[in-house]
Symmetry: C2
Subunit: 393 residues, 2 copies
């Protein structure tokens, strides 16, 4: 593991929190951390071209092995020369193992120690995923960072069930490492253990004994209260080695990014900024607003006059409001550009603050100004999304 | 009319056909003719930013007064400083009068000599459109070229009905001219008369006596057989003055553009290239193809390797096929870019051929190579579209 194709350089730690600033060196370029990865599930960050993905400040993106395996199929992407070429993105990519989607999206799962049998959410066809196949598919896709296959448990699973799943996850991590062939990809381990600190600790101990080049925290942001997300993240991150990158999977609201950077996370991914954008929910320095609100029906200034994104530089809030009302496809794209630019800028500002030693001040200031969605609305939206995401725009 | 803000310079006529190459000088720039205008009904060429609209070769675009009047409303656009600023497009714009949509899209019409009362297709609210209001709205929008309000008759209307509508259209043309206040917009007349050559002739005689700076041919491409479109276009264009631009409304398939340029048309608009793009129908030098066809499921080359559009330069056909299969929003945009680039290139090549004296050869060569949709499919698709366009993507 010492000659990993992906290395992490820690540049600065915050004395007033656990925040860290660093650099992730990958075969497709250097990624300053903290970093947020937009999600391109099906080989496309929804509505954007690769140039736009770059322009909004993206340095690394995430693609879903589950989605790409089902459609267009791994051989098609292999035939293109890999995912970078297929989707015309020459920056770093991280692929997940497919595990999370198999457990949350696909139907009729049968799981045993060998792997998991599931039905495609597209056509109901039956497929098998094993640790070895998860690695093989990700090697064919050719991302810079690939992930072990893990068993994801629901947030209300009891201790015994999570413990059993963790044993399997640990065993699968070993098999993934053993199955790995390509030397130009880094395989990250995934800490599981649900909401049980003792199991999280066991998971960290097991994985760190295998010396992965990076560690993810999985099994969060799946419907639990935000305080649970934050406390499990805090406790788990504190156990992970200082010199390895830490990736919190599935977290991406502005307020969560700030609070989880403060808890020592380096890497994030989430479909939230792009998904809510397509519903008209836009991030501003004072909080999340809905562009469909009547307040914007005559607002001739940009949505956020201080924002330097293409959307705010070019169009008024009323134009954006009009496009959403008229269901014009350009609306979803302009909103996506705005939200991803907001997130990129936020992450850059956090990094600068860590490097300058002003992160605690930045964090306090941000949390005072930024009005997030209230907790009840958030959980309700999350639930709706989990149920309906196949029909998402 | 001699000091019209829009002037037309004829540069060359084709000796082997009636094709013409010229220049339309407008307050927002020079437009080489023949020209095709993409349609931005609601203040957006669907899926594209203004920069992309420019990049695909657009020199002038069309926006619909009917749509913009209903949503966001004329005062909002006036408040933005006009349509150019509202939609961030600084090139020439032509707006229609709203007449066509009122007669084809809105419900419950009551027409009399004063104007037409209609119900919004959005919320059923009742509105009145008169020649004076049509001009007033278009002056508020501020396009470079505006159109008279005309009464549009169905393609199966009998002679007496079309004759009566034509009398009203003529009267309305006079009232539009009289209502016009702004000196920086050109008002074009619209020839009506259905499929009756005698009425088309009467319409031309009446309008040309008023010396408009340009003439449109309306009431075609509304479901009639293609041979009728071509013959009425040919006969009508032949009657129009040589030194004024001629605009055939609603025509925009590649084969129609070639055949109607050959009949002396200078300006076209149509939603067809962008609408069919969003359904996966793409123009290539050998004809129209559907990207969803299985033939593209493993095609690692671009859709058209000779095409210089962004889509073909950047992505493989299988990637585009995948995006359509997966219903990714980027699909509609990449297809739109491809089709509009194809049309722009086609129009440019026709213009070059006219200037070089090789247009008849070009026309023959194009019509041999290009396989359009067959006539039955075309009429069927048109019918479906006319019925369903409010639910269009």
């Amino acid at each position: 593991m010492t000659d990993s194709p992906v290395s992490f350089q820690m540049l600065k730690t915050c004395p007033g929190s656990r925040a860290r600033a660093g650099e992730l060196v990958t075969p497709h370029g250097i990624v300053p951390t903290p970093v947020f990865m937009p999600v391109g599930s099906q080989g496309s960050v929804k509505t954007l071209t690769p140039e736009e993905v770059r322009d909004v400040g993206t340095t690394m993106l995430l693609a879903n092995t589950y989605h790409l395996y089902l459609r267009p199929g791994i051989p098609v992407i292999e035939g293109a020369g890999g995912l970078h070429k297929f989707m015309a993105w020459d920056g770093p990519i991280l692929t997940d193992s497919g595990g999370y989607q198999v457990f949350s999206l696909a139907g009729l799962r049968r799981i045993n120690n060998k792997g998991v049998v599931f039905r495609s959410h597209i056509d109901g066809s039956e497929h098998t995923l094993t640790p070895e196949l998860a690695v093989q598919y990700q090697e064919s896709l050719g991302a810079d960072i690939i992930m072990v296959l893990d068993e994801c448990t629901a947030i209300d699973s009891d201790y015994a069930h999570v413990e059993q799943a963790l044993r399997r996850t640990n065993h699968w991590a070993e098999r993934c490492l053993k199955a790995k062939r390509r030397s130009d990809q880094a395989l990250f381990g995934i800490v599981q253990g649900g909401i049980y600190p003792e199991l999280r600790k066991q998971s960290v101990e097991f994985l760190t004994s295998m010396d992965f080049p990076g560690y993810a925290i999985g099994g969060l942001s799946i419907g639990e209260p935000k305080q649970v997300t934050l406390s499990i993240t805090e406790e788990t991150a504190a156990l992970l080695p200082q010199d390895k990158p830490r990736y919190l999977m599935g977290v991406g609201s502005p307020e969560d990014l700030v609070e989880c950077v403060a808890r020592g996370i380096d890497i994030f991914d989430s479909a939230l900024p792009t998904r809510v954008a397509r519903n008209g929910a836009l991030f501003t320095s004072s909080g999340r607003v809905n562009i469909l609100n009547a307040a914007f029906a005559e607002e001739q200034r940009p949505l956020d006059p201080a924002c330097d994104c293409y959307t705010c530089r070019t169009f008024s809030a009323v134009y954006l409001h009009h496009l959403f009302k008229a269901k014009e496809l350009l609306a979803y794209r302009l909103a996506t550009i705005h939200n991803l630019t907001f997130i990129s800028n936020l992450v850059c500002r956090m990094r600068d603050a860590i490097l300058n030693g002003t992160f605690p001040l930045f964090r306090e200031d941000f949390m005072v100004r930024y009005r997030p969605t209230d907790e009840a609305t958030r959980l309700d939206q999350k639930q709706k999304w989990l149920q309906s995401r196949n029909n998402d725009i």
